[in-house]
Symmetry: C2
Subunit: 516 residues, 2 copies
């Protein structure tokens, strides 16, 4: 794509075409300026074949808001739309609409509330709420979903991988298997959710995190082809990076050639006063090879060198490696916890693609329309009660119990403040027979989750730094029941409706069903 094409493909036309035809319909029906409210939420945690998430980490907000503030309809866009014709060959868009669009086609009249990035989030809870003129709120849909769905998916996967690593360092290696430029969004989300570093250089520069990496097989191959062998390659690397010498040891034979050659070079480095960094294992049985390589390194006097593992890692594979090391390393005279603490994990494909469930099912639904100054709640029926949206303007509260653990997310009507109630009734979102009433004294605190981000297009929110986002993530994870954090078969976190919201939903369902 040339610059002009890139501008079109990544600007405000980065949206599904039906948003634009609907916008013209609203214009024609006089509804385009009507205030409406849309809500973003996801329906289900990612489910990765044999395992599934019990929580998600919210991400993508800052890039979404940046995009919203940077794009607008210009004559380039209307010129393109003017060329679009219907089946009969007539233009699909008329001049009056295109004039309005060129004049008003930005997001400067939208307001946005959202859950901050890095927070633990759950299904059916509004994570972003958009208020504003109907046509532009509609056009926003596709890009909003595109930004939030993917980054939340990957931040979640990264958090699980970090959890499985028992404190080991996680590095994102996913760029080569990402969806084109989506690899940048993936690396950002990975850094938010659980990766400490990324190999993606440009993106690391943007995020203010040093990029990390080791070296490739090709370097060893090149030295081999020139007759200098693996040892020659390692020596060359050590000469250039004496204090950062991390050697990939599996080009020929990990235990027969790579580790012994690495040890030779480490000895040479030490003689010159440098501290060798470590090795990387990229193939074979990583649990077995970790133990054997650790033993060889220990015996040679390098017990503090790092061992980086890579090759098709995900949270279950890492968990299995850690478990196997705990079980088997004592038999080789290796302290398992010491070995686990020196491991780091380069995680690529399975992180950046969220292996097993490559998309979050987040949706953007109309929840209210203003009519004659009054907000009218909107609903969409479905044959499955679980898919019927929660109508109207809403608030979201996190309920902490006396242990300061998050015990439920409570979705209320917008004008409810549960802090003022003497007891809370938590209604199951779909089963009317399941509800519990919790006295106020059993609740340590109630925290509103949504914050103001844009007020009529003005940014009223200061985006936190990556470090602040990570602190928020860690604070949320610390207050989450460990059963909810289980990698397999997690305990189900409670998402509840307030009694008033439940009653509104019931009433609207009955009205719609009887009126159709």
């Amino acid at each position: 794509m040339n610059g002009r094409e890139k501008g079109l493909a990544e600007g405000i036309l980065y949206t599904d075409f039906y948003q634009l035809t609907m916008a013209q319909l609203y214009f024609r029906a006089g509804l385009h300026e009507k205030p409406v409210q849309f809500e973003y939420f996801f329906r289900n945690y990612p489910a990765y074949d044999s395992h599934q998430a019990g929580y998600c980490i919210h991400a993508g907000l800052e890039w979404l808001v940046n995009w919203m503030c940077q794009v607008r309809v210009t004559s380039k866009e209307t010129e393109y739309l003017r060329q679009q014709t219907g089946r009969g060959g007539k233009p699909l868009f008329q001049d009056d609409f295109l004039e309005w669009l060129e004049d008003q086609g930005d997001f400067s009249r939208l307001s946005l509330q959202a859950v901050p990035e890095g927070r633990v989030v759950h299904p059916n809870v509004p994570l972003a709420v958009v208020n504003g003129p109907c046509a532009m709120a509609q056009i926003l849909e596709s890009s909003l979903l595109n930004h939030l769905n993917y980054q939340t998916l990957i931040a979640t996967k990264a958090s699980r991988i970090r959890d499985a690593s028992s404190g080991g360092l996680v590095i994102d290696f996913g760029m080569r298997r990402g969806q084109g430029l989506g690899a940048n969004a993936g690396a950002r989300a990975a850094l938010i959710g659980g990766a400490r570093f990324s190999s993606n250089t440009g993106l690391s520069s943007v995020m203010g995190v040093p990029p990390k990496g080791t070296h490739a097989h090709s370097m060893v191959q090149a030295f081999m082809a020139l007759g200098q062998g693996e040892l020659g390659a390692f020596r060359a690397y050590a000469a250039v990076y004496p204090d950062d010498c991390l050697l990939l040891v599996d080009t020929i034979d990990t235990l027969g050639s790579g580790v012994p050659n690495a040890i030779t070079v480490f000895r040479e480095l030490r003689k010159k006063g440098h501290q060798p960094f470590g090795i990387r294992l990229d193939s074979g049985d990583l649990a077995y090879l970790s133990i054997q390589a650790a033993k060889m390194l220990d015996d040679a006097g390098f017990p503090d060198t790092t061992i980086v593992l890579s090759n098709k890692l995900d949270e279950l594979v890492i968990w299995q490696i850690v478990s196997q090391i705990r079980k088997e390393s004592p038999r080789y005279g290796i302290d398992p916890e010491k070995l686990i603490s020196r491991l780091a994990y380069g995680v690529g494909t399975r992180l950046i693609t969220s292996q097993g469930d490559a998309a979050l099912d987040g949706v953007y639904k109309l929840t209210a329309v203003q009519d004659q100054g009054e907000w009218v709640p909107a609903i969409k029926l479905s044959e499955s009660i679980g898919k019927i949206i929660n109508p109207g303007d809403k608030g979201v509260w996190r309920v902490y119990d006396q242990r300061e653990e998050a015990t439920a997310d409570l979705i209320c009507r917008g004008d409810e403040d549960p802090r003022k109630e003497s007891s809370l009734t938590l209604c199951h979102p779909t089963d009317p027979s399941v509800r519990r009433t919790v006295p106020r004294e059993r609740i340590s605190s109630l925290e509103p989750l949504l914050v103001d981000v844009l007020k009529e297009g003005n940014l009223v929110y200061e985006f936190p730094s990556l470090e602040q986002i990570r602190k928020r993530r860690d604070a949320d994870l610390a207050r989450l029941d460990s059963g909810v954090k289980r990698l397999i078969n997690p305990h189900r976190y409670h998402i509840s409706l307030s009694r008033r919201l439940w009653e509104l939903k019931e009433k609207l369902i009955q009205e719609q069903r009887s009126s159709k």
Copy 2:
């Protein structure tokens, strides 16, 4: 990201960090200008749980080459690299290297051969071959993999989905579930592989294809909230798009409300001289609902309206829908082939994520190094014979049998021309006991697959239009055995080595194993 950040994140630093540290190592070792050859290939067809591809459609080349021609190291990049420090706090990159990089840091001295986009391709066959100075050929790796892996993955999935649709129109709806901006690469690849249209507006504009769509539930909801109901929404849509009236009928109740309301509006349209377009079904049992909706539309006098299906479609789901319609529609008095021919498919999540296998395992391997004017083949051993690369400069030929069907891809040494041989020996790539000799008269033609794209940075290739790419795809698919195209358990296409290449590989393996 602001403009400066985007420039860094999408420029030449869109690469893994180790490419840059290796580049400095080559510089320090005096190897940075040494001519080398790298090769891109994938190891396995995508395997989607219960099903798997028997071929791939190559895509991504034009965007890769555009990127290569647009980016280079500038002072912005070297400034960033200059700040990077190692564990001891000292700079990782030295000034002399950074000066060289700022001077020579582009791809203008690389040559590239590649298989054209849209062609049917197979594992282990070189799809792109890079020749040029070692340091820059190394830096290219990550971006090359990022561009080619993903687009080939999605073009392949789209081809399968198109195949399953029995001639029905396939539209890409995936943007909201793509990896951020990767959705653009996904839509492009979908258009190359099998989608006729995309809903992604900006990307469609770049590809010169009209964007397509229907309308969303939110439009119906908005009219419902304003007291005008689904019928009011449909009438409003028909008023604006009388010749393109395609109505989403499942907001309330597909057969009880949506289809009857659509028929009412279609009758009104017809009275005014317009031809109604069709309906979209987005939930429920799409096979059953297609038949019932077709019956209602037929009975009402609209047998030619289109029925668009969407909601979690992929090739197996579409195949199942088509099969069920063939089996069950006669019982309702519906001609199955007539119904199948009026179906179109909006395919989103499962297309853009390549559901079931979200990454192609393409790799970029060093195959040769020039030393004292001679090309020395490079190899990388592995415990698995299947993962040992095919060394040296190579050519790739497609072998057509007397029926003009592709019967094998033959990988030769670069100086071999199998057209000159009186018979061909096709060696199994890993099993020395499996080889067959085919007399020349049983071969109708031998076609070289690689074409010159860049010669020392100069574009010597004219990129084909989307229509030309699609024609090439269709021509290749027509010459592919139907067993290879099966959606499940496909017949295995033959990928063979020439006898001379086999012998070289054997020799290098023995040399390496004995020298380590």
